[in-house]
Amino acid sequence: MNEQEIIRLIGEALGVDPAQLSRESKAGDFEQWDSMGLLAILAQLDRQGVHFDPGNAVALQTMQGILEAFRQARKLD
């Protein structure tokens, strides 16, 4: 999976147009990326087979952190 595919999946989870998202995006940029948005991202990671420690959920507040989670799960090309 490449970065653009991951960004599309995150947009889908948040209900945000992926065109508005980039590797620099972060939680404060979008109303939908709130505590529930965080859970939606967790669920998307789970569906993609990325097992993520919810105790580190703060890392999911940036796209860089999300990409890193995919990288660590060897799901990022």
């Binding site: 505590s35 859970l39 967790l42 669920a43 569906r47 993520f52 919810p54 105790g55």
Partner: protein, 338 residues
């Protein structure tokens, strides 16, 4: 084998709407609460009204509707995390109010959202062993007494309610037959959904402090804490795995089940579970809009509503799944008959 004879439910009269919560909390928007939880309103117990009161009313209504000989009830099981008192068991008080015979065992057990399935499992085991023929299972909670109306995480989700079901050894007039169950526990999750104050851990040192051993800390009101990401992650992991274990035990596939009747936690969580389990919406009903998450009562309330709406049909093969505080989870197979 044990059989379900009927279900009845009871919720308090007072309605707490999203508009009410938004009025109490500037910055909260009614429609946003609904969008996130799928809940528009929930019922809350009045001062002095308890889960045992609601459970009593549900049980009374059920026994009257079934015209069941209450003298033949061998056991009353009451699942609650909001008992009337630390002691005696609320089940004993309910036993007296229901005028059950002195030969009837009565006890509480403390579980949350998995409690209804655990209760069915326990009733099934009591009947299978010959220890009982007729078991009255009551489940209910009043989490509103533990929630701050200013806590967005808990106040928006939880509502108060109770339900009663009768489980019998005889299949006469049964509405369903109970099948195998799988249960599970992961105590590592205890700290993520917890009411810390109100029981013995933080209290009860008055005698010790009188001896100079340890000062008694001031009593605090019980307050519900929920770590959303942790509970959510547990649910996504435990529920599909638990259902798969049950399906394996049944020798069945996901497609062989007509209805998956899950604990109604909140719509968002249920939708995420449904996506993960690849189930069509018609196989996994969500009915949470007007009552919220009533903890151990959500499954029997959902079943009763599905029964009344004709969603549950004769020979329907169902899986019940309860999950939550503990962590604790339970899944049971059930065949609807009427």
């Amino acid at each position: 084998m044990a059989y379900l004879r009927g279900i009845d439910c009871c919720v308090p009269e007072t309605v707490l709407s999203n508009d009410d919560l938004a009025r109490l909390n500037p910055g909260w928007r009614s429609e946003a609460i609904y969008a996130k939880t799928g809940i528009r309103s929930r019922r809350v117990a009045a001062a002095g009204e308890t889960a045992a009161d609601l459970g009593y009313r549900a049980a009374e209504s059920l026994l009257a509707r079934l015209d069941f000989d209450r003298g033949s009830i061998d056991a009353l099981l009451f699942c609650t995390e909001s008992p009337d008192y630390p002691l005696p068991p609320s089940a004993c008080i309910m036993h007296e109010r229901l005028k059950l015979p002195q030969s009837c065992a009565a006890f509480d057990f403390n579980l949350g959202c998995s409690g209804f399935v655990y209760g069915l499992w326990l009733a099934n085991a009591l009947i299978a062993s010959g220890a009982a023929h007729n078991v009255l299972l009551v489940v209910g909670d009043t989490y509103s007494k533990y929630c701050s109306p200013h806590d967005l995480v808990t106040a928006t989700i939880f509502g108060d309610g109770a339900a009663a079901v009768l489980i019998t050894a005889s299949d006469r007039n049964a509405v369903a037959s109970l099948g195998p169950a799988v249960l599970g526990t992961d105590g590592r999750g205890a700290e993520h959904l917890i009411v810390r104050a109100g029981a013995a851990r933080l209290h009860g040192t008055a005698c010790a402090s009188a001896c100079g051993v340890q000062p008694a800390p001031p009593r605090q009101p019980p307050a519900l804490f929920m770590n959303g990401p942790e509970v959510f992650s547990f649910t996504l992991s435990a529920v599909p795995a638990g259902i798969q274990r049950l399906l394996d035990r049944l020798g069945a596939g996901w497609e062989d089940i007509d209805l998956y009747l899950l604990h109604q936690a909140n719509r968002f969580m249920l939708e995420q579970l449904r996506l993960k389990m690849k189930l069509p919406p018609e196989k996994m009903p969500i009915d949470i809009e007007d009552l919220g998450n009533t903890v151990s009562a959500t499954i029997p309330i959902l079943m009763r509503r599905c029964e009344l709406q004709g969603v549950l049909k004769p020979n329907h093969r169902c899986i019940l799944a309860g999950f939550g505080v503990g962590y604790s989870w339970g899944m049971m197979y059930l065949e609807w008959r009427q």
